[in-house]
């Protein structure tokens, strides 16, 4: 019998969005994703200018800060990742210069890429580097989200870094393994997304010996993300660049609607790098809440580097909490799961497999956290779109719109509802993973209890932290 997500939607249910002729036509056009990238680039040009002009002024009235850390971040966490997988990577303008340099053009197909085209070391083909890169970036959150110039420096570093590193390493190694701070969690959390790119009929790909999607042809580039488009098990490393739609001579690629979180049930290529990504993301959501929406002034002073000792204490605590404490507590529950379930199952396998239950929990925690940004602060956006550089402009007549929090009275109910839904989804995925891991159902039930307890405790903690 086919399993169902939340007991409602069969895991293998799919609706092919690209079966709609006009959708397929748009996807196959070389204007896609070039055009959205260019449009996005124009917005990011304003963001960069506003960041540079804004300097160290207060960020709440700066276009760069507001559009990156409110508009972009909220869209990313609340809309793009859960609904459209890595669609941000499709339209991200930051590595565009590096890619255009590799291709020596904007839209034309050139499969012999410019640059050194070095291979990325096999030992580093995982999320460890981006785990540390993202964690390192969050050390500066006190500056990034409050000082326009810090956001400018971060974005320019990514642009310049991508140009240099994409001239050295082939294709999208920069986005995948090296330089994008958010690439890791976009990959992991896109496993929850309700959309996917997959081959329509795997047998067609199997019979087709000349893999155009892998080596490219005159209609499109070889997969820039260096995956096998005919064998995408999970969304993790598919950057949704749409090249495989162009290269496939059989029109065998599809964008599907599907139930949420199905990739988390794929028992293939799971690893500790992704486990730690899940821990780090959950921990950062908690720390960000304490800094941005918490009441502890001393923690804000630490993150704001009011004193060097305070800042170093913040970095140390932040690192220990994310890298050691959360995995350590989780390990205790996994150990209990093994004791109750089956002591012959390797502890590492259990630890890795069950860590994927934290993926829905983590994303939901971020969504709940994001409500706390959206409702109180989004009115600033109306101000900055009218006066993006604080030069006294009033483009849309909203530059004097006062700070107006909305729905903050009912915000906790949104947060609680979201967190409880996250618990239900995590428990559902958790038991399915337990069945996969323990094989025998009675063992799976016993082994599931401590993991379910952990997920419940984390949810209660988050409810208390956010609303209690």
């Amino acid at each position: 019998m086919t399993e169902k997500i939340l007991g409602l939607i069969p895991v293998d249910w799919r609706f092919e969005l690209t079966s709609l002729p006009y959708v397929r036509k748009i996807i196959k056009s070389r204007w896609m994703p070039f055009l959205p990238i260019v449009l996005n680039l124009s917005v990011f040009t304003v963001i960069l200018m506003a960041g540079f002009v804004g300097g160290v002024s207060a960020g709440n009235y700066n276009f760069g800060i507001m559009f990156v850390w409110i508009v972009w971040w909220l869209l990313l966490m609340m809309v793009m990742v859960p609904f459209f997988s890595r669609v941000w990577c499709m339209i991200c303008p930051l590595p565009a210069f590096g890619e255009w340099l590799q291709r020596l053009g904007f839209m034309k197909v050139r499969n012999k890429l410019f640059g050194l085209n070095k291979k990325w070391p096999k030992a580093l083909k995982n999320m460890w580097l981006v785990n540390f890169l993202f964690l390192g970036t969050t050390y500066t959150t006190g500056f990034l989200t409050t000082r326009p110039i810090a956001t400018f420096i971060l974005l320019m570093s990514i642009i310049i870094g991508s140009i240099v590193l994409m001239a050295v390493f082939e294709k999208r190694n920069f986005c995948k393994y090296i330089g994008c701070p958010v690439g890791g969690f976009l990959g992991l959390y896109s496993n929850i997304a309700v959309t996917e790119i997959r081959a329509k009929d795997p047998q067609i790909c199997k019979d087709h010996k000349h893999k155009d999607c892998v080596i490219g042809n005159e209609k499109g580039h070889a997969c820039p993300w260096m995956i096998l488009p005919f064998d995408i098990g999970r969304n993790t490393y598919c950057g949704m660049c749409l090249e495989c739609f162009k290269t496939c001579p059989y029109d065998n690629m599809a964008i599907n609607l599907r139930p949420p979180a199905t990739d988390l049930l794929v028992d293939k290529n799971r690893g500790l790098d992704e486990a730690w990504k899940a821990f780090i993301m959950l921990g950062i959501a908690i720390f960000f809440f304490l800094i941005m929406q918490g009441n502890m002034g001393f923690l804000k002073d630490w993150a704001n580097a009011t004193t060097t000792e305070g800042y170093l204490t913040f970095v140390a605590l932040h690192s220990i909490f994310n890298l050691l404490l959360i995995p350590g507590v989780f390990f205790v529950f996994v150990y209990a799961s093994r004791t109750l379930g089956n002591k012959e199952i390797p502890l590492k396998k259990l630890f890795t497999n069950f860590s994927y239950t934290l993926v829905p929990m983590g994303l939901i925690a971020w969504i709940a956290f994001s409500f706390g940004i959206l409702f109180p602060n989004s009115s600033y956006v109306l101000h900055v779109i009218s006066d993006p550089f604080a030069w006294g402009w009033d483009l849309f007549g909203t530059s004097h719109f006062p700070w107006t929090p909305f729905l903050t009275g009912v915000m906790p109910y949104f947060q609680i509802g979201t967190l409880l839904f996250g618990l239900v989804l995590s428990l559902d995925i958790g038991f399915k993973i337990s069945k996969q891991t323990f094989q025998k159902r009675d063992q799976a039930v016993r082994g599931f209890i401590p993991i379910a307890a952990f997920l419940t405790v984390v949810t209660i903690f988050l409810i208390w932290l956010f609303t209690g």
């Binding site: 709440n60 006190g142 009441n295 704001n304 618990l423 239900v424 428990l427 559902d428 379910a452």
Partner: protein, 149 residues
Amino acid sequence: MKIDKLIIGIIILALLVGLPLILAQPEEPKEKTIIINAKQFSYTPDTVEVNRGDRVTIRLISTDVHHGLYIDGYEVSTDARPGQDGSLTFVANNTGKFVMRCSVTCGPFHPYMIGYLKVKPDYRLFGSIWLAVGIFICSILLVSRRQKQ
């Protein structure tokens, strides 16, 4: 049979949610005056606790720059400059935790200048926790029941 179990499940869940509401014993309403000192980027005290029905007056004192204080859910606000205090009064009819935020741009960390108003008893928190516990119990019962079948 299935419907019976569903009804029993709903009753258990409702009891779990209702338990803290039954146990909660609210105190008699009082008049409370609270002095809050504001400085970049925190309030002292950072948490104000009152009981439902209390008539609360907050006096806001700024010790450095122009600050404000806005209370989520109650939608009341005041502001203060050094030497020029602010004040607001309200009846704490809504229970739970409410964020007190600075409403006047006071520096880089201004959006993060936050304190909490806690109006007890916090039914919302108790109810949510019991709901989470109920979901946990239901999930264990559900997977165990399927095992027996």
